[in-house]
């Protein structure tokens, strides 16, 4: 039984990828049927399979297995299914199925490139399932990046639009920076625990907390989670991601991808929980995101932008609850609230996005300043909007009410704790949560009332407005019924899904006596109820007086917005990089030569100075005679002449003099073959020089001034002095004896009396062969340079 399940599990996780390969073929060869119908099979099948796993997981069983991928590095494709995994698996496949169904009616078969759409969507779905089911950190990271890439492709689905490309690029940059931080954090964790398995890391949590890498790895992993889940201040990519088609916004940017960060935080809570840093980072970031998101949502004019900020704020709420829940032994309600709200948010936010998509689809606009009075024309859509929005605002009889009550319970519990400085700062949590809820209430009301109430003005719309087709309504109706169902029967999911998931997040708690996971609709007249009443009353008053105080949004200068910083930062970095490159990449060869020589002098000379290893020991030197000194003086004179002269002929002759004197040195140093070769080569070279430069103009003056020449002189002097010092040092420290006594057997071994020639053609004949090759190539090169003047610039 169990073995079958594991095999099936692997297959299930691979299905989206395999099916993605099939999609273009179906699109191409079955053009009559909307491709989405074929795709719909995949998430539906996975969802049904996951449902079958619920009883197994609820019993406390865990499915663990691994398939080797790179076994030599210890990287295995290992999966691990517990309550948390299954909860996400159900969300991904369930919402996925509804979104695909919705997209069949939303995406036009004639106008859209459906094969691209569904391939990206399936890749995303597979990657998201992969994140939830992976146990190996590298597999987790691989799928993590795959979701970023799939999201990037989906946001830029209408790639002809500039805004789509901008949003896609922004989301990719931000999420990939977070992804890389996550990779670093995971590697640090694996260094601490010496394992790649998340499960084994959780078991080693005591060791991790004491380790010195604890804080860096925690920060890096949180950076990954916060960027993915659009937490403050990395939330800026999410509103721009609204350029994606609405089914994508509903699926990726409300129900699944943005919850990958939530999943990560929940998954690693057992590892990091119980520390003050984790508690305040997660709780604080969540709370700020919640406040800022709900505050910003109110001022939006675009329905999707409003929903984007609302998603940001709800994600902040869940994150905040996870942070509070990390003080697990004291505040287990928070974890329950987080998970419950995770599900509820997916249902009502998915529904809301679909409703907004319908409004957009039927009226041609999403701008609340143009919308209004649609109540009677689109009654079903209106009802769905009410259910979604009221649930989001936390009103009964919808599931948002329950999770909002649990949220208040969580923050109130946290405020009463005496750990992590909560005794002083804790009181802020319920106050801020309450303020944020008021803003949530206001924008939820705007969403319903500004869109559907008021007077209907047909001339404001480009199309003739009518109710959406039934097919498009199925998915939001289904989600809206879940919203109501979960309110009346919360314990169905609580017992079957939330309890195993809580066990996964707080593994130590269950042994300590279990926890309260019964969600009651009515607790009596508790503080939470009064808080909700307060939210509704104050929120309603503020909504009515909104035109009077909406001016406060204009006081916020644009320059402190994070979008401004992001845009400016991007442009600034490009400019800075261009500036830096332009300063040193001058395009002038001489500058590069200067860098090379200066580098040589500084590194070699510097290391000589630092190691203090200049030595001078002339004891082994050969004798000096007067005519040698004269020859040396001649070379020096000729060299200086070449350096100073302005006549090309003098320069060429000067170099010739140097060459011939070098030949004489070869005579003195008893190298007859060298002397012969040098004489011949020098003669030919000088002839060549004369021949060639007959066609070149006079040398002319060196422009650039005295300063430049002085700099050149200093650098060249540096090189010369350094070479002299190196030569003297090397000369004074002969490390090994020469091996040349062997070559003195050349007559016995090679039958040659001339040892140099024997070396050239016998002992080391290979060098000579290649040297001949060099000469041939040079000859051919010269020939082709002169004979093949092909590509003239002006194409004569």
């Amino acid at each position: 039984m169990k073995g079958d399940h594991l095999l099936l599990l692997y297959f299930t996780l691979l299905v989206p990828f395999l099916f993605a390969l099939l999609v273009p073929l179906l699109y191409r060869y079955m053009p009559r049927i909307h491709t989405g119908w074929f795709v719909l099979v995949v998430p539906t099948g996975i969802f049904i399979y996951m449902i079958n796993l619920i009883p197994i997981i609820a019993k406390g069983e865990k499915l663990v297995n691994s398939v080797p991928w790179i076994p030599t590095l210890g990287i295995n494709y290992s999966t691990y299914v517990d309550g948390l995994t299954l909860l996400f698996g159900l969300l991904i496949s369930g919402i996925g199925a509804l979104v695909v169904l919705y997209s069949i009616y939303y995406m036009s078969k004639q106008r859209e490139a459906l094969h691209n759409f569904y391939v990206y969507l399936l890749i995303f779905m597979g990657a998201m399932l992969g994140i939830a089911f992976s146990d190996n950190i590298f597999i987790l990271y691989m799928f993590w990046e795959l979701t970023s890439i799939a999201s990037f492709l989906l946001i830029a689905y209408w790639y002809q639009r500039k805004q789509s490309r901008y949003g896609a690029q922004k989301s990719l940059i931000i999420t990939v920076i977070g992804g890389l931080a996550l990779l670093a954090g995971l590697i640090l964790l694996s260094i601490m625990t010496n394992t790649f398995s998340i499960r084994e890391m959780i078991e080693a949590d005591q060791m991790i907390v004491k380790h010195q890498l604890f804080l860096p790895s925690m920060l890096l992993i949180l950076l990954g989670a916060f960027t993915k889940s659009a937490q403050f201040p990395f939330h800026i990519w999410l509103p721009d991601a609204m350029e994606a088609p609405t089914p994508i916004s509903a699926y990726l940017h409300s129900a699944t991808m943005v919850k990958a960060g939530i999943y990560l935080v929940a998954r690693f809570t057992p590892v990091f929980s119980g520390t003050i840093e984790w508690f305040w980072l997660v709780t604080g970031t969540g709370m700020i995101t919640l406040l800022w998101g709900s505050f910003s949502a109110v001022k939006q004019n675009d329905l999707k932008a409003m929903l984007a900020f609302s998603t940001i704020s709800q994600l902040g709420l869940i994150m905040c609850l996870l942070g509070i829940g990390s003080a697990s032994l004291y505040a287990s309600t928070a974890i329950l609230a987080a998970l419950f709200h995770l599900i509820n948010h997916s249902t009502f936010k998915g529904c809301l996005f679909m409703v907004v998509g319908i409004v957009d689809h039927e009226t041609g606009t999403r701008d609340i300043r143009r919308l209004g009075g649609l109540m009677n024309i689109m009654p079903i859509t209106f009802t769905l909007m009410i259910i979604g929005s009221f649930s989001m605002a936390g009103l009964p009889p919808f599931n948002g009410f329950l999770s909002k009550e649990l949220f208040f319970t969580g923050v109130l519990e946290a405020a009463r704790l005496n750990i992590f400085h909560l005794e002083t700062w804790g009181i802020l949590l319920p106050i801020l949560a309450w303020i944020a809820s008021i803003f949530t209430f206001i924008y939820s009301m705007i969403l319903v009332l500004k869109t559907f109430t008021g007077k209907y003005k047909p001339n404001k719309y480009e199309k003739k407005v009518h109710e959406a087709p039934l097919g498009m309504l199925i998915s939001p109706i289904f989600l809206a019924s879940l919203v109501i169902l979960f309110f009346f029967f919360p314990n169905i999911i609580s017992n079957n899904l939330l309890q195993p998931a809580m066990k996964a997040i707080l593994p130590g708690l269950l042994e300590g006596g279990g926890f309260e996971n019964n969600i009651k609709i009515w607790h009596g007249w508790t503080t939470e109820v009064f808080m909700t009443l307060g939210v509704a009353v104050v929120g309603m008053l503020l909504y009515i007086s909104f035109p009077k105080w909406s001016g406060i949004y204009e006081y916020l200068p644009e320059k402190i917005s994070f979008n401004y910083i992001y845009d400016r930062g991007l442009v600034g970095m490009e400019k800075l990089a261009a500036k830096i490159t332009k300063t040193y990449m001058t395009g002038i060869v001489r500058d590069y030569l200067l860098y090379i020589f200066i580098f040589f002098v500084v590194v070699v000379g510097g290391s000589m100075v630092l190691l203090n290893n200049f030595t001078f020991n002339p004891s082994g030197n050969g004798p000096v005679s007067a005519y040698e000194v004269v020859l040396i003086l001649v070379i020096i004179g000729a060299a200086v002449l070449v350096m100073l002269t302005k006549s090309r002929l003098t320069a060429v002759i000067g170099v010739g003099v140097i060459g011939f004197v070098v030949a004489m040195f070869f005579v003195i140093f008893r190298a007859p073959d060298l002397a012969l070769t040098q004489l011949v080569v020098e003669t030919v070279t000088v002839a060549l020089f004369l021949l060639c430069f007959y066609h070149l103009p006079e040398l002319g003056r060196e422009t650039g001034g005295v300063g430049l020449r002085a700099a050149n002189l200093i650098v060249s002097l540096g090189v010369g002095v350094l070479v002299t010092l190196l030569a003297l040092t090397a000369q004074s420290n002969p490390l090994v004896d020469p091996i040349s006594t062997f070559f003195e057997n050349s007559y016995q071994l090679a039958g040659a009396r001339n040892i140099v020639n024997a070396i050239l053609v016998d002992f080391r004949g290979f060098d000579t062969m290649l040297e001949i090759l060099v000469l041939s190539i040079a000859g051919l090169g010269v020939y082709s340079l002169i004979k093949l003047p092909l590509a003239r610039r002006d194409n004569k």
Binding site: G587, V589, L593, L594, F597, P618, G620, N621, G622, P623, V624, E628, V629, I632, I636, V642, M643, R648, V652, G659, V662, I668, F669, R670, A671, D673, L674, T677, Q678, V681, L688, C692, H695, L696, E702, N712, V715, S716, L717, V719, G720, V723, T724, A727, A730, Q731, I739, S740, F743, E744, I755, V756, I759, L760, V774, L775, A778, G779, L785, I786
Partner: protein
């Protein structure tokens, strides 16, 4: 002798590098030539100078100058010659095509 040669090599390198840093094709190629001379002399100096007879076998009990550096230099001379010849023709051709012998004026095409 080796000390004097080391100083001479230093002078040749100085002049060679100085010429390499100039703007004129001719001077640059002359600079490489002078650098090559310096290098050849450096190799032979490092092998030790005037330690014995020229490396041509005459019989027993004779000490020879180290033949290995000589073989290396011989190879280097030929290669240097080949490269210098190629550079010369290249300079000649580029002057013909581009009409300048100033290396600073060779700045590629504007839209590169």
């Amino acid at each position: 002798m080796e000390t004097l040669m080391a100083l001479l090599i230093g002078v040749l390198f100085t002049v060679g590098v100085f010429l390499l840093l100039s703007k004129n094709f001719l001077k640059i190629i002359l600079g490489t030539s002078i650098l090559a001379h310096g290098t050849h002399l450096l190799i032979i100096t490092m092998g030790g100078l005037k330690k014995g007879m020229p490396p041509i076998v005459r019989g027993e009990n004779v000490s020879y100058t180290d033949p290995l550096p000589q073989a290396l230099i011989l190879t280097a001379i030929v290669i240097n010659f080949a490269v210098t010849a190629f550079f010369l023709v290249l300079a000649y051709r580029s002057y013909q095509e581009l009409g300048t012998d100033n290396i600073d004026k060779l700045r590629g095409i504007a839209d590169e």
